[in-house]
Symmetry: C2
Amino acid sequence: MPMCAEHSNERLSRKLRSAGLRPSTARVHVLRYLDRNRNHPTVDQIYRSLLESLPGLSRASVYNSLAALGRAGLVRPLAMDGNELRYDSSVGDHGHFRCRGCGVIYDFDLPPAVSASAADGLQGFQVDRHDFLAWGLCPGCAGAGR
Amino acid sequence: MPMCAEHSNERLSRKLRSAGLRPSTARVHVLRYLDRNRNHPTVDQIYRSLLESLPGLSRASVYNSLAALGRAGLVRPLAMDGNELRYDSSVGDHGHFRCRGCGVIYDFDLPPAVSASAADGLQGFQVDRHDFLAWGLCPGCAGAGR
DNA sequence: TTATAATTTTATAACTATTATAAATTATTT
DNA sequence: AAATAATTTATAATAGTTATAAAATTATAA
């Protein structure tokens, strides 16, 4: 049974090219990692994981790739606290909830009306991107009484 | 005509006490600064400005004060990019828009329905706080054709 | 009021995430 | 295949934040 790595690479390369980006090794791997890991990883998590299959990969290259992917709209950054930046490959309209108990960041659906009516308060502004962020306790941690 | 500095201090001290915080010099000054500067200042901006009237003030003290004020719900942190943290003394429900042209962060009203219906997607979650963030170009910068 | 305890601040150092730089490499174009 | 442009690497520098211990302040109790 053949591995489909080449096919997957081809698909990702095409995705990068059609977004106007060269499909460099680092970019393909970063994009694939984010496609497969929908848990909003930090830059460090991405770097450490890719390093196993790409010895010699540099942190700067991961930062560069993420910045390029972000500019192209293929991924989006997520800053829920001041320090570390996380990345999300789900580009569709959804919000983010961070649990202060377990630290997990959950995606949640935004009714289309939310984004639309938020825009009502932004007449005359040109909105490139938006996000609805919430903090608190997830059902599990709330039940555990934290 | 008398200055009202003492009155102002008294008011802020009471505000701190009723929030369960000791009205230390640093906290009073940080809170007053945020009350008067609604432009979402960075920690560094707060520190540098207070240093003029409070020589000897340390950065750590500003960080400590802001953390205490944040826990008490008197101010709220705002992270619109990965690096620097800003603070907002408007605790009411509103969103934030950052212009990539001039860098200004604008407040905008959120129709009450927005927060309510966003909560629909968070059944079972206990939401402590939330924020609607948007990025793009403000009317002025959009007009200037950036 | 004085003594005691708890909290807060200061000064400093350490840490972490990110950005900048220049040389080497890689990909694209001619 | 050679030339050009873009990307990556390795390293250093920067910036923002957190940790630590001693000193100072504030609150509580005698």
